[in-house]
């Protein structure tokens, strides 16, 4: 039924709370992309079947549902039991009857399914006691993992659209903008532009036809917060966009969603339809006469389309080539009409800010960066997943208290933030509080909130080369400095990682970086040198080792690295031959193993699997020298 007044809205929320918030137990099965990959669909189905068969719904007042991503994807499938807040990890279909019998019926905890901290081996029963969750403060992710994203009533029961109702019934557009201004909210898509200022400019722009857009392109590899938000709480994004449209005076909008996120497309589409049906979207929203409607535009798989002007060209059905920055989107954006673009997370913050007030949000954070921020913590860290924390949290706290420390306890080398426009920060920067300015001042960037942790087995020259390769494939090719600069730089890097580096290469790279920063048309090219410059700034010695000694200190550049098994320590456990892709390792069980250098491709698979640490890598150049020396004898 369409909601057409404040009173009807309140009634709808009350009714939703009645049916959706159970008085008894609730079972929530995560069905985000990560958990689905681990088989959560079958688990949800098994709960469904058993509960129906046994009539548990009626007898226990049991309510069960599937939710979006809890952010702890690595441990999936995840099942949460309420009201206790129990978290079961890696749940299989065969565990379902036991969970229903022991936990749901009798309130018993099943120790086997609890999360065990890899660092301390301690088990945790409760969701919010687990270190990974304990330190988090979730604003943009407030409802993810708590609501069924396909059920609008469940969203209403958990507070969705309360901000919209407040904005439309109690506030003028200028008051909405003032509240956002008071919150200090800055764009979560990368550059950190002040949101209220952008809205104001678009509100002032001349013309009756204006657009509000959502950037769900999330191109930074290693970041997936926007995916989780769109999948897990699409209503939070819609609510923000409708409020924004009201503040700006726009009646049309688009959500630009990455083609690689099929589930996000589906969930957002369903949310749009549900919202339209209930009168939360479309003409005469909540009976106030305000009209705003939304469409999805699926991206085509191009990184540059995350850039504001390229994204708008893409929605227009064209190739995503950026425009020079002097054309402002607030005046001439989509179809050359006034347009306001914000990131998924920015939009998701809006509803909560309107409900709780700008001061509430500004209560977290640093002087210049307010509120909370979502990050995806990935790479060589024990707990990988999605987190939301106050701005100004230190990298060390994120890495060790939430992330649980380094994977396999290897030494920390760097953390990469900001995607291909960002940089790598070394160990002595771990105590920096994370905010927009501090990251930039130290040669990195906030970007999409990807944090990729690297250990001693990550080669920083290879990382820089990786981003160059990524960007050279993604450069749209419109301007010469970016197109050619990336290509030439990549050629030099190819030489360096394969042992053909020459003195002067590093200096040539630095000159190319300068040229790109000065001459590129859009931020893609202007910021492309960042990964190179930051690795040069903090890890120059690695470059020098590659060029001068033809050695890769991390042992990752294959052309420069050779492996051997230290005979004295080999126990003959026979693990390494099993993982060797080229059958280069000989030796039976309980015998000393040997690597055949002619067959070895230096992939390092054996090194990673050896339980005794008896595989050693060394510069291939040394091996050649030794061979020469032997031949000379």
């Amino acid at each position: 039924m369409r909601i057409e007044s404040r009173q009807q809205f309140d009634t709808a929320v009350a009714a939703a709370r009645d049916t959706r918030l159970s008085k008894g137990r609730e079972v929530w099965v995560c069905c985000g992309t990560g958990c689905l990959a681990n088989g959560s669909k079958a688990v949800a189905q098994a709960f469904d079947d058993r509960i129906r068969e046994d009539g548990l719904q009626a007898s226990l007042g049991l309510y069960h549902k599937t939710t979006g991503c809890h952010g702890f994807c690595e441990r999936g499938p995840l099942v949460v039991i309420q009201p206790e807040g129990l978290l079961y990890t890696r749940v299989r279909v065969s565990d379902v009857p036991e969970i229903l019998d022991r936990t749901v019926r009798n309130g018993e905890v099943i120790p086997r399914l609890l999360y065990k901290d890899p660092a301390t081996r301690q088990s945790y029963a409760k969701y919010d006691e687990i270190p990974f969750y304990k330190h988090q403060i979730r604003v943009s992710m407030r409802n993810i993992g708590r609501i069924d994203p396909e059920d609008l009533d469940d969203a209403l029961a958990h507070g969705a659209y309360a901000g919209l109702a407040k904005a439309l019934f109690q506030m003028t557009p200028d008051q909405v903008i003032a509240e956002i201004e008071a919150s200090g909210l800055r764009g979560r898509g990368g550059a950190g532009f002040v949101t209220a200022r952008k809205w104001k400019a678009c509100r002032k722009a001349r013309g009756d036809r204006k657009f509000v857009l959502c950037n769900g392109d999330e191109g930074d590899p290693g970041a997936f917060k926007d995916r989780s938000i769109m999948e897990g709480d699409p209503h939070g994004v819609l609510e923000g966009m409708i409020i924004g449209a009201y503040a700006i005076g726009a009646h049309e909008g688009y959500l630009y969603v990455r083609d690689e996120y099929p589930l996000a497309v589906v969930n957002v589409q369903k949310a749009i339809e549900a919202a339209r049906e209930r009168g939360l979207l479309g003409t005469n929203i909540l009976g106030t006469g305000f009209a705003f409607d939304l469409r999805i535009s699926r991206g085509g798989g191009a990184f540059v389309c995350g850039e504001s002007s390229a994204l708008m060209r893409s929605i227009e059905g064209r190739t995503g080539e950026p425009r020079a920055k002097y054309v402002h989107a607030s005046d001439k954006g989509l179809f050359d009409l006034p347009t306001n673009l914000n990131n998924v997370e920015t939009w998701a913050d809006v509803g909560a800010i309107i409900v709780n007030g700008g001061a509430w949000f500004a209560g977290w954070g640093t002087e210049r960066s307010k509120g909370t921020k979502a990050f995806s913590l990935v790479g060589k860290v024990k707990n990988t997943g999605l987190i939301e924390l106050p701005m100004g949290t230190t990298l060390r706290h994120i890495l060790y208290d939430i992330g649980g420390g380094m994977l396999k306890d290897r030494p920390f080398k760097a953390v990469q933030t900001g995607g291909p426009s960002g940089g790598c920060l070394p160990a002595d920067k771990l105590d920096l509080p994370v905010d927009y300015e501090i990251l930039s001042e130290n040669g990195s960037m906030m970007g999409s909130g990807g944090m990729i942790v690297m250990d001693d087995r990550t080669c920083m020259v290879d990382v820089a080369r990786y981003f160059l390769k990524f960007l050279s494939e993604e450069s749209c090719g419109k301007c010469v400095p970016c197109r050619e600069g990336l290509k030439q730089m990549l050629l030099i890097f190819d030489d360096i990682v394969s042992g053909r580096g020459k003195t002067g290469d590093v200096e040539r790279i630095e000159r190319l970086c300068q040229g790109m920063q000065l001459g590129s048309l859009c931020e893609l090219g202007k910021s492309a040198p960042n990964p190179v410059l930051s690795t040069l700034r903090y890890f120059r010695a690695e470059y020098e080792a590659h060029v001068g000694r033809k050695a890769c200190p991390a042992g990752m550049c294959r052309d420069l690295t050779a492996y051997e098994i230290v005979q004295e320590s080999c126990t003959g456990c026979h693990q390494c031959p099993k993982v060797c892709p080229t059958e280069a390792i000989s030796g039976g069980a309980k015998m000393k193993h040997v690597i055949d250098q002619a067959k070895c491709i230096s992939c390092g698979a054996c090194f990673d699997v050896c339980p005794e640490d008896c595989i050693r890598f060394f510069p291939r150049a040394e091996a050649k020298e030794a061979a020469h020396a032997n031949a000379d004898h």
């Binding site: 590899p221 290693g222 989780s228 798989g301 059905g317 190739t319 995503g320 990729i452």
Partner: protein
């Protein structure tokens, strides 16, 4: 290639008609239409592109420029099963290059290629948003998390 090519000349125009019905006949529909065409035919057949150009009133040159700009599109027929190896940062540092090599070695195709019997295509993708399970390989629509080179073979067998 012979087998794969034979499907070329006789595209089913019913599919295009149905797709064109869903969108207004104007330039902004181009990418959405091409996406549906790609999904329906598994690639963008030339004949269909000429149809789309005519129907949407977009010059063929522009249709091609869009079709070649975006990674989601391919102008050659794809294998029945598409293997996507994620090469995003998280996957890269957790061993994605080894996985690509393994698929290459097993199937004898490079990224972007399709096996001669049109059973498999191999693609690299920039990040599929499942970084917490890096490295990730997607075979068809199945996500394989924490993928290991040695474990891939089982997913690369040809069914009936």
């Amino acid at each position: 290639m012979g087998d794969a090519m034979s499907g070329y000349s006789c595209v089913d125009h019913g599919l295009v008609d149905a797709i064109l019905e869903r969108y207004p006949r104007e330039e902004p529909s181009l990418i959405q239409v091409l996406q549906d065409v790609q999904r329906a035919y598994n690639f963008l057949p030339c004949e269909v592109l000429t149809r789309v150009s005519r129907e949407l009133g977009v010059p063929l040159s522009k249709v091609f420029s869009v079709a070649t700009f975006y990674k989601a599109f391919s102008l050659t027929p794809q294998g029945r099963v598409i293997i996507k190896v994620c090469t995003g940062t998280a996957c890269h540092i957790r061993g994605a290059p080894l996985l690509i090599e393994e698929v290459q070695r097993r199937l004898g195709i490079l990224p972007g290629g399709t096996t001669e019997d049109a059973a498999f295509s191999l693609h690299t993708v920039n990040c599929v948003g499942a970084c917490a399970m890096a490295p990730v390989v997607i075979v068809g629509d199945k996500y394989l998390g924490n993928a290991k080179a040695a474990g891939l073979a089982a997913h690369l067998t040809r069914g009936e």
